[in-house]
Structure formats: structure tokens, C-alpha cells
């Protein structure tokens, strides 16, 4: 004879990934590294932004890149030209980076470079507005990009990423004269679900807004490092 029993689990579905992300963050903290997770749809300009960021901040901050791509190393090769450590992770069929993949990247970082000499790791996630938002990788800050060619409504339609972002870069603003799109409306759509988000319109092409972005990255890196010093004091 059989009887049916009930067992309460109450476990977060993503707890395995969350544990992995916490583990990665502990490594970053021990190395004194600030990690930022850069997310957007394909073609919003993540790699172009990283190129400008390396030009603008390399020297002041010691930066490494973890580059997630489904199949190729094209983006990683673009960034290697800037002379910083670039670790490419091919996600295969997976549409996002997860904590385990980034842990593999950190393993490479640890063995091929000196992580203690780094200040900042920028993780370029797979181009996708949906999945990366649910999978933390151990970052201290989430940065979302939305190009003005994607339209004003995208934050409303793909809310999770924009709701979680600490910073939103509205990219390709040099194209504004050719489009019927309102940068203010994009910002307003994000603010109604994420009032504390820092929103910076930028153009990797003309350089508009980049100084403000560099300033945000610098401040965030310093404040993360400082809070770590206090936490260990």
C-alpha cells in the first residue's frame, strides 16, 4: 500500500546559480576587484562601448574583460587589441552567461594573469534582453545598454533587465537626428520601474556622454573597494 506525502522545500529555483555568483563575488572581493555585468540586446553597442572604455580608463584603472559570446571570438579579438586581459567564454547554445561559466573565466584569469593587480572586470554578457537578467554572475553592478534604434518601448516590454540595472546607457545617440525617437521617453520608461537608475545617453562614435560614464565607473569601483576596506577593518 502507498501513501502520498508532502515535503516542503522552499528553495529558490536559481539558488545553485546564486551560490555560484556569491562565490565569484567573494573571489572578486578578495582580489580587490569590482565586477560589472554589461547587458543588452545584440547590436546595442556593448563591444564598441568597451573599446571606448578601455581607451578612456585603461591606465587609470587596471581592467580585464570577460567576453561571453555564443560561438565566436570576434568580439574578444577586437578587445585584445587594447592590450588588456580578455577571457573569451563561448556559451554554446546558451543565451546568457551564468555563474559557473564566469567561474571558469576566473580560473583562467587566476592562472594566466595576476588578479590582485586588477581593479575592474567588465563582463560582456551574451546579447539578449531577456535571459541574462535572471542569472547573476557575481557582479557588484549591472549595466544595461539600450540603443535608440531599438525604440522607446523596450524597457516596458523587457522590464526585468531595466528594473535591475544600476546604470543604463542609452547608446547611439548620434543617430537621434535621423530617428523619431525620444531619449527622454526612454529614460522616463525606465524611471517608472527603476527610479534610482543612473541614466547616461552616450555615443561611442562621437564620444558624447562617455566622460560621465567613465566617471560613474570610477566612482563605483572606488566605492566598492572602499566598502570592502571598511568591511574588513
Amino acid at each position: 500500500m502507498h501513501q502520498t506525502f508532502d515535503a516542503a522545500l522552499g528553495i529558490d529555483l536559481l539558488h545553485v546559480n546564486q551560490t555560484g555568483a556569491d562565490h565569484n563575488r567573494a573571489h572578486f572581493d578578495a582580489w580587490g576587484i569590482t565586477c560589472m555585468n554589461i547587458m543588452s540586446s545584440p547590436g546595442a553597442g556593448k563591444t564598441a562601448l568597451l573599446e571606448r572604455t578601455l581607451e578612456g580608463l585603461h591606465g587609470g584603472l587596471a581592467i580585464a574583460i570577460i567576453e561571453g559570446d555564443m560561438t565566436t571570438e570576434l568580439d574578444a579579438d577586437r578587445l585584445r587589441q587594447y592590450g588588456v586581459p580578455v577571457i573569451a567564454i563561448n556559451t554554446g547554445r546558451s543565451c546568457h552567461l551564468d555563474a559557473k561559466m564566469v567561474a571558469g573565466g576566473l580560473h583562467t584569469l587566476e592562472h594566466q594573469y595576476d588578479p590582485n593587480a586588477l581593479d575592474l572586470v567588465l563582463v560582456e554578457n551574451v546579447g539578449n534582453l531577456v535571459c541574462p537578467a535572471e542569472f547573476e554572475v557575481g557582479e557588484h553592478a549591472k549595466v544595461a545598454l539600450l540603443s535608440i534604434t531599438e525604440g522607446e518601448d523596450k524597457p516596458l516590454k523587457y522590464p526585468i533587465m531595466f528594473q535591475e540595472a544600476d546604470c543604463l546607457l542609452i547608446t547611439k545617440v548620434d543617430l537621434a537626428p535621423y530617428l523619431e525617437v525620444s531619449i527622454e521617453q526612454i529614460a522616463a520608461n525606465v524611471r517608472q520601474m527603476n527610479p534610482d537608475c543612473t541614466i547616461i545617453p552616450v555615443s561611442a562614435k562621437t564620444g558624447e556622454g562617455l566622460e560621465e560614464w567613465f566617471g560613474w565607473v570610477r566612482d563605483r569601483s572606488l566605492s566598492t573597494n572602499e566598502s570592502r576596506v571598511h568591511a574588513h577593518a
Partner: protein, 121 residues
């Protein structure tokens, strides 16, 4: 696509529990709570669960998904409201931005139902 990965995570978590049980009982149902304000499509989960559990310890088990609505709390109005996902997230009364999310972000394995042989009286 990520429903596949989430299902993998779900199966691993349930397996951990199952392996820790004396006698490894037959699992009949797995109950999940999935919030409406997540990137998870219940139909995708159901499909992935069916495919991935074939021939495993969860063979034939049913995935029961309870969806929870997006509910936010407006501090200015001191009341809860349901944002319209895809259209409007700010408070419909005072237009304050969505601050506190009270429900809708859940991705949780609630409980499992399992059968166990009991001794005849």
C-alpha cells in the same frame, strides 16, 4: 531558451533532496511558484521538464506551476497595485515609480509530493 537551464537547476535541486531521503521515494508532483514578473515562461518549463525527466528518477512526475501576479506597493498612496506588465509600472493613482515589489519575482520550488509504501496493519 533559459527555461532549459532552469529546468536543469530544478532537477538537480530536487535530486539533492531525493537522494537525502531514506528509501528514495517515488516523486509524483513537483510544485513551483513562478512570478509573472520574471523572464520565465511556464509553458517552456513544462516542456523542458517533460523532456529532461524522461528515464530519470523523476520519470512521469508532474510539474505543477502556480503563477503569482506582479503586485507593487506605493509608499505615497500606502496601497498595493498591480502594474500592467508591458505598459505601465508606475502607480496608477499618483504616478510614483514602482518601488517595492511585493509579489511577482518568485522562482521557487515549493514542495514535492511523493508516494511511500506503508506497512499493512
Amino acid at each position: 531558451m533559459h527555461e532549459t537551464d532552469m529546468t536543469k537547476a530544478l532537477i538537480l535541486t530536487v535530486r539533492d533532496w531525493w537522494e537525502a531521503q531514506p528509501g528514495q521515494p517515488a516523486i509524483e508532483k513537483v510544485h513551483l511558484t513562478v512570478g509573472k514578473f520574471t523572464c520565465v515562461e511556464p509553458v517552456g518549463l513544462q516542456f523542458a521538464f517533460e523532456v529532461q525527466t524522461k528515464g530519470t528518477f523523476l520519470n512521469g512526475a508532474e510539474l505543477v506551476i502556480r503563477e503569482t501576479p506582479l503586485i507593487a506597493y506605493c509608499h505615497d498612496c500606502q496601497s498595493e497595485y498591480q502594474p500592467e506588465i508591458g505598459l505601465q509600472y508606475a502607480c496608477p493613482t499618483c504616478k510614483s515609480p514602482m518601488g517595492d515589489i511585493r509579489s511577482g519575482r518568485e522562482l521557487k520550488i515549493d514542495r514535492v509530493e511523493y508516494a511511500e509504501a506503508i506497512a499493512q496493519p
